[in-house]
């Protein structure tokens, strides 16, 4: 899909029970279940975004 639109693909976030549950609780999954697949997907996304905006740095943070 990103290819069709000639755009960088930043990654995918799964349809995941942890995300919906923690969102309803008001405790973002990244903080509350950092080892979950969902949280890891968001952390990876943060890296990808940071690298896009700072091409000179290899790793974020």
């Amino acid at each position: 899909m990103a290819e069709e639109l000639v755009l960088p693909y930043l990654g995918s976030i799964p349809l995941d029970g942890d995300i919906t549950e923690q969102s309803d609780k008001g405790d973002p999954v990244v903080l509350s279940i950092p080892d979950s697949i969902a949280a890891k997907a968001f952390m990876k996304l943060a890296d990808t975004c940071h690298q896009f905006l700072n091409p000179e740095t290899a790793n974020a943070g």
Partner: protein, 226 residues
């Protein structure tokens, strides 16, 4: 706090370069541009997160992305521009928070890990009350969000857009002027892609660089599988 200017904006006279205590000549539009510009100058990367379509998870993705960036040690702000459905406070477990004004502006809510958040949800008493505002009022709110919130120095300001490519989006892009990137959120459905393509063309037409696409709700993870 004394408001002397024709601009009629609160909180800013003390810090405003137009202000000379008795005879401020700045008109409202001039002042709006000045105050937004002043705030945005302290922010390294200003990003908008949009999809055009509603319900694809913009706010959830934006919230978690903001939290993730803050966890990595960056100074991050999260501006909820969805004034008809300001969901960020609920997502952050901060629905009862109220913001306070100081001489520097309105202080955003700060989470335990240092993420600064501003949303209309913090200013509305009844969370079940709808917002029925015409464009002129929405325009003023966007300027409040960008200009009157005391964001301070940030590495990232993530702006969670409402659905659509209309008033709020145009106002944000117009006032900030040099947005560093747009992140497009979509889901795998053709319907979401149909709307996402319009968001992409809107960003391109507005000269906002596109960081890329996030595919949300892409695969189903099973809670009971190893």
């Amino acid at each position: 706090m004394v408001v002397t200017g024709e601009c009629r904006l609160l909180h800013t006279c003390e810090m405003c370069e137009f202000n000379n205590d008795t005879d401020c000549k700045a008109d409202k539009n001039e002042h709006n541009r000045w105050i937004v510009n002043k705030r945005m100058n302290d922010i390294k990367f200003k990003l908008i997160i949009g999809s055009n379509k509603g319900g694809v998870g913009k706010s959830t993705v934006t919230t978690n992305l903001a939290v993730a960036l803050a966890e990595k040690g960056f100074k991050v702000g999260l501006a909820d521009a969805d004034l008809h459905g300001p969901n960020i406070p609920k997502l952050m477990g901060a629905d009862h928070v109220r913001l306070r004004a100081t001489e520097e502006g309105i202080d955003p809510y700060e989470t335990r890990n240092g993420l600064k958040v501003a949303s209309l949800g913090f200013l509305i008493e009844d969370p079940n009350m709808h917002i029925a505002w015409r464009d002129a009022v929405k325009y003023d709110f966007i300027i409040e969000l960008l200009g009157n919130i005391h964001w301070g120095e940030l590495d990232y300001l993530l702006i969670d857009l409402p659905p659509g490519t209309g008033n709020e989006q145009i106002t944000i892009i117009d006032f900030i002027g040099d947005i560093d990137g747009a992140i497009i959120v979509t889901t795998p459905q053709e319907l979401a892609l149909l709307d996402a393509r319009k968001m992409i063309s809107f960003a391109r037409d507005s000269n906002v660089p596109i960081v890329g696409i996030i595919e949300n709700m892409s695969t189903l993870t099973c809670q009971n599988c190893a």
